[in-house]
């Protein structure tokens, strides 16, 4: 079981709510994913409308909602978005996303650090979306973030684990859960991320943009479960050359056995 802050999760697949054709397609996909944590952009929520087509259906599912600050370009904007999420969904959890670059939507490390510090002080459970930067993850962890969410590749790009070498360092060092977010393009990427030892993955575009979001969500569910099982079972080491069953150093053991035999005499 995965534990983030005071909450435990059976599923290690987190999902998004953007890019779906309609709310029913989204709900069917979320259901098929088995996800127990779903993020939604506060910028899309119409708090003045009582018929919001994103918020109401999601609330009915009973899945834990994770408001995100997507669209924020500064720490200040992200703080506003987080406060609105807390007010509307009665949750102190927030996925912190600050991306001032509209081209690749890459997260701003400086503004993220500033916002994370302020949000932790305000009592939020902060899950920051960051570049796969091990030092930044250390800094965010030290501030009190409940998890870190490094990207695998640019968001929505489906490029897969481009930052693998750095994700490995983050996973190795982190004392809080590592959720690999952004760029996971196909189920095998999710499996690979889980095999690396990630605590969870977050997937949106690959599910929502597929021809059958429901079917793709099910594929990701299985992929994440498989990857986690393989990680827990203990994957064999990767070697460049074949390993001989009779290694060159076998004679040392033979000598030891022989000597042991002589000593026993």
């Amino acid at each position: 079981m995965l534990k983030i802050a005071d909450h435990t999760f059976n599923s290690r697949l987190f999902c998004g709510t953007g890019k779906f054709a309609n709310s029913q397609t989204m709900l069917d996909a979320l259901h098929a994913s088995g996800s127990e944590l779903v993020t939604l952009a506060m910028k899309r929520i119409d708090r003045h409308s009582h018929t919001d087509n994103l918020m109401l259906p999601l609330q009915k599912t009973g899945i834990k909602l994770l408001p995100n600050t997507s669209g924020a370009r500064t720490a200040k904007e992200a703080l506003f978005a987080a406060e609105l999420g807390r007010e509307m969904f009665a949750t102190n959890w927030v996925k912190l996303e600050i991306h001032p670059d509209p081209k690749y939507l890459l997260p701003d490390p400086i503004e993220t650090l500033i916002a994370a510090e302020a949000l932790v002080k305000k009592g939020f459970v902060v899950l920051p979306y960051v570049h796969a930067d091990p030092v930044l993850c250390r800094r965010l962890e030290a501030l009190g973030c409940a998890a870190v969410m490094p990207l695998a590749s640019p968001i929505g790009s489906n490029q897969g684990l481009v930052t693998k070498a750095f994700l490995q360092i983050i996973i190795e060092q982190s004392t809080v859960p590592v959720v690999i977010d952004a760029g996971i393009g196909c189920p095998s990427d999710a499996t690979a991320a889980m095999e690396l030892g990630a605590d969870a993955v977050l997937v949106n575009t690959a599910i929502a943009s597929s021809r059958s979001p429901q079917q793709m969500a099910q594929c990701f569910k299985q992929a994440v479960e498989t990857g986690r099982m393989a990680y827990e079972a203990g994957l064999g080491q990767v070697y460049q050359y074949a390993q001989h069953t009779s290694p060159l150093t076998g004679f040392l053991r033979e000598n030891q056995e022989h000597q042991g035999g002589l000593n026993a005499l």
Binding site: G18, A72, K103, A208
Partner: protein, 369 residues
């Protein structure tokens, strides 16, 4: 360096020759690596790319869905005034036109807003004819705070302004500015803009730089397709986009592709942009820039708009009126141009839904700046 310096070095005669001399092999090469590649954009805009239209459309559609999902953002124009101190022979607001002129006061603006809010709109495009003294910065500063109270996204399509004026409006909550060059051919530009400040080609050309320097959220470009050679004008707009994107990394870029149509009493297009030409344009720009916002107005007919949606469009207006006060008092006496797609916003939303798209009304929160 502003775009006028880049523009001065571009030889449009040579570019035109290269555009029309493009070979099928060059188009195929362009299809391999179109992103951010201005040479590829040229090939995809050329007549040689026409046989590849279906391939371009398939790829453009896929790219758009991956980036923007199954969604279309809806916005509404709010015409503040039809006063104009320019003479532009293609526009209904041109100063010599004997139409009733009107500038909305705050009370009239509020009446319009009430109707737009009833239709769920949260993104508005403020439009005005260009009249510096009566509908200038003082007027905009007066009305913007009221409008911003009701909309999360407020964009403007008015005359070019100084950096200082743009900064004042940004402080009042302005999110973006659409400023169409109309044509990048200076001779043609001079022929169609015969009086008023709009005659200053360079001031208009460098306005997006002034906006980019301020880090405004959105900058919109456009050409009136048909005023000159639309292929070349589109290519020049590609250079303009590339210049802005390389320098002002915080601003989103958007384009609009209005077609100049042959009409009775109006000017005749120098080159008519056909339906297939419009499709080629949309696809070429999408392949050139996967994250570019592409806006489609109600100038296009309902069937045409339906077909264009999956090809790369990200933003649409719906239920538009092109005259000041036109939502509260619908008549056609004061309008800038005739609407072709007259469907209501409810009809547009339901059409989008039937085609597997979600209409997005809200994509920002007005209090977060």
């Amino acid at each position: 360096m502003h775009f006028d310096s880049v523009f001065a070095k571009l030889d449009q005669v040579d570019l035109r020759l290269a555009l029309y001399a493009t070979t099928p092999a060059q188009v195929e090469q362009a299809l391999h690596n179109p992103a951010g590649n201005i040479q590829a954009l040229m090939a995809l805009l050329s007549p040689a790319a026409q046989p590849y239209l279906e391939t371009m459309a398939q790829r453009a559609s896929q790219l758009t869905q991956q980036r923007f999902g199954h969604t279309i953002n809806l916005f509404i124009p709010l015409y503040l005034s039809n006063l104009c101190a320019n003479e532009c022979d293609y526009c209904g607001f041109t100063m010599s036109n004997k139409i009733k002129r009107k500038v909305l006061n705050l009370n009239e603006i509020n009446k319009e807003i009430d109707i737009l809010k009833r239709n769920k709109f949260d993104s508005v495009l403020l439009v005005a004819g260009e009249h510096e003294s009566k509908v200038g910065i003082d007027y905009f500063c007066q009305v913007l705070p009221t409008i911003k109270q009701h909309f999360s996204q407020v964009n403007m399509e008015v005359q070019p302004l100084s950096s200082q004026d743009y900064a004042s409006l940004q402080l009042l909550g302005l999110d973006g500015v659409m400023l169409y060059q109309e044509t990048y051919n200076q001779v043609t530009y001079a022929q169609h803009h015969t009086r008023g400040k709009k005659q200053d080609f360079s001031y208009r050309l460098t306005s997006p730089d002034r906006l980019g320097e301020l880090g405004i959220d959105k900058i919109g470009l456009g050409v009136l397709l048909g005023l000159d050679d639309w292929r070349l004008d589109a290519l020049m707009m590609g250079y303009h986009l590339q210049h802005l994107e390389n320098r002002y990394w915080r601003s989103k870029l958007s384009i609009s592709l209005p077609r100049l149509r042959p009409c009775v009493g109006g000017i005749q297009p120098k080159s008519v942009l056909s339906d297939s030409g419009l499709v080629q344009l949309i696809c070429a720009f999408r392949l050139f820039n996967a994250h570019l916002e592409i806006s489609l107005s109600t100038r296009e007919s309902a069937p045409m708009r339906n077909h264009l949606i999956p090809l790369g469009i990200t933003h649409m207006s719906a239920g538009s009126s092109t005259q000041p006060g036109g939502y509260a008092n619908p008549s056609k006496a004061l309008e800038q141009f005739e609407i072709s797609d007259e469907r209501s916003v409810q009809e547009i939303s339901s059409m989008l839904s039937q085609r597997g798209y979600q209409a997005i009304f809200k994509d920002w929160e007005r209090d977060w700046h």
